[in-house]
Amino acid sequence: MSGKSNMKFLYAGIVIALLISALAPFLASPDPDGLESAAGGVIEESRMSELEEMEPVVGSPMPDYSIEGMGKSGEIAAIALGTLGVLAISLGFGKVFNKKA
């Protein structure tokens, strides 16, 4: 592995990830995912609506990858922020754990 080409891999990865972040709000299917859809099919309706009304134990700042009142641009921003957040955490994690360099 050469260091230079791995940095290229990183830049290419960032570009692809940000591109997906920008497209996802428009292209992603709004249908429930496999688990939610299975739940809708096998759980009784009254129980299902009970489950759906239960609040998450810990609240989150950008629920459902959206920012309140910002529509599609908020969704793009939320996903891009998440992408960059994961990137920063991974790089930081790599710095902490990489003591051999």
């Binding site: 592995m1 497209l23 496999g34 996903i79 754990f97």
Partner: protein, 221 residues
């Protein structure tokens, strides 16, 4: 397949955390032993890419959608399922805390399903198939099976939790994730692995290089 808090009672959710923790610990140990300045950029690129692609739900019909998980892809690139556990743990932490995608009490179960089970099944299936069917098809098969088995595990957890009935739960989760696994996991993983094998063959060779191959790898890197 991100399980929300309401789907698993707290005591059971804690049990999944307890099962997941040694795996998370082992993935940290992997990072400590294996990560170096060369590998960190690759790990970070994959983690960011997987976070983004998990937001891209693909319609599979039947009013249902699904997205890639990615643990198998990371495991193949790094030649270790622990890398998959590590990346999925980071991604799921951000999804849970920042976006409410998957509960925090159920994060242990989600790490277990998507990081551990899908990554281990996917990687070792890939490793077993690779010599006979080639890298691309092995990556497809591994990723597909990894996602399917993790969905089965999730259905069993839902049954133990009293949330799903056993057989209908297995049938529904199985049907949806056979399709999600084919498109969302299998095809994307195969395309990504094939692209990496073409553009950066050294990355995949390093993953399997044992001592003697190292020299060759460095020559054409």
């Amino acid at each position: 397949m991100h399980i929300p808090d309401s789907f698993i009672p707290l005591t059971q959710a804690i049990v999944y955390w307890v099962i997941a923790l040694p795996f998370i610990f082992m993935s940290m140990k992997w990072a400590k032993n294996e990560l170096d300045e060369m590998k960190v950029p690759v790990l970070a690129a994959l983690a960011a890419g997987i976070f983004a692609i998990q937001a891209m739900n693909i319609p599979i019909g039947m009013g249902t959608s699904g997205h890639m998980v990615g643990a198998t892809l990371v495991a193949i690139v790094f030649g270790s399922p622990w890398a998959g556990v590590l990346v999925l743990t980071l991604v799921l932490l951000v999804q849970g805390f920042a976006f409410g995608d998957g509960g925090i009490t159920t994060l242990g179960a989600n790490i277990l399903n998507m990081g551990v089970i899908s990554g281990f099944v996917g990687y070792y299936t890939y490793a077993a198939l690779r010599k006979s069917v080639g890298t691309s098809i092995a990556a497809f098969g591994g990723a597909w099976l990894g996602l399917f088995i993790s969905a089965m595990a999730c259905a069993v957890q839902m049954w133990v939790a009293g949330t799903f009935p056993l057989v209908p739960g297995l049938m529904a989760m199985g049907t949806f994730h056979l399709i999600i696994g084919f498109i969302g996991e299998g095809l994307i993983t195969a395309v990504a692995v094939t692209a990496i094998a073409k553009s950066r063959p050294d990355l995949l060779e390093d993953s399997f290089a044992a001592g003697s191959d190292k020299y060759n790898t460095e020559v054409h890197a």
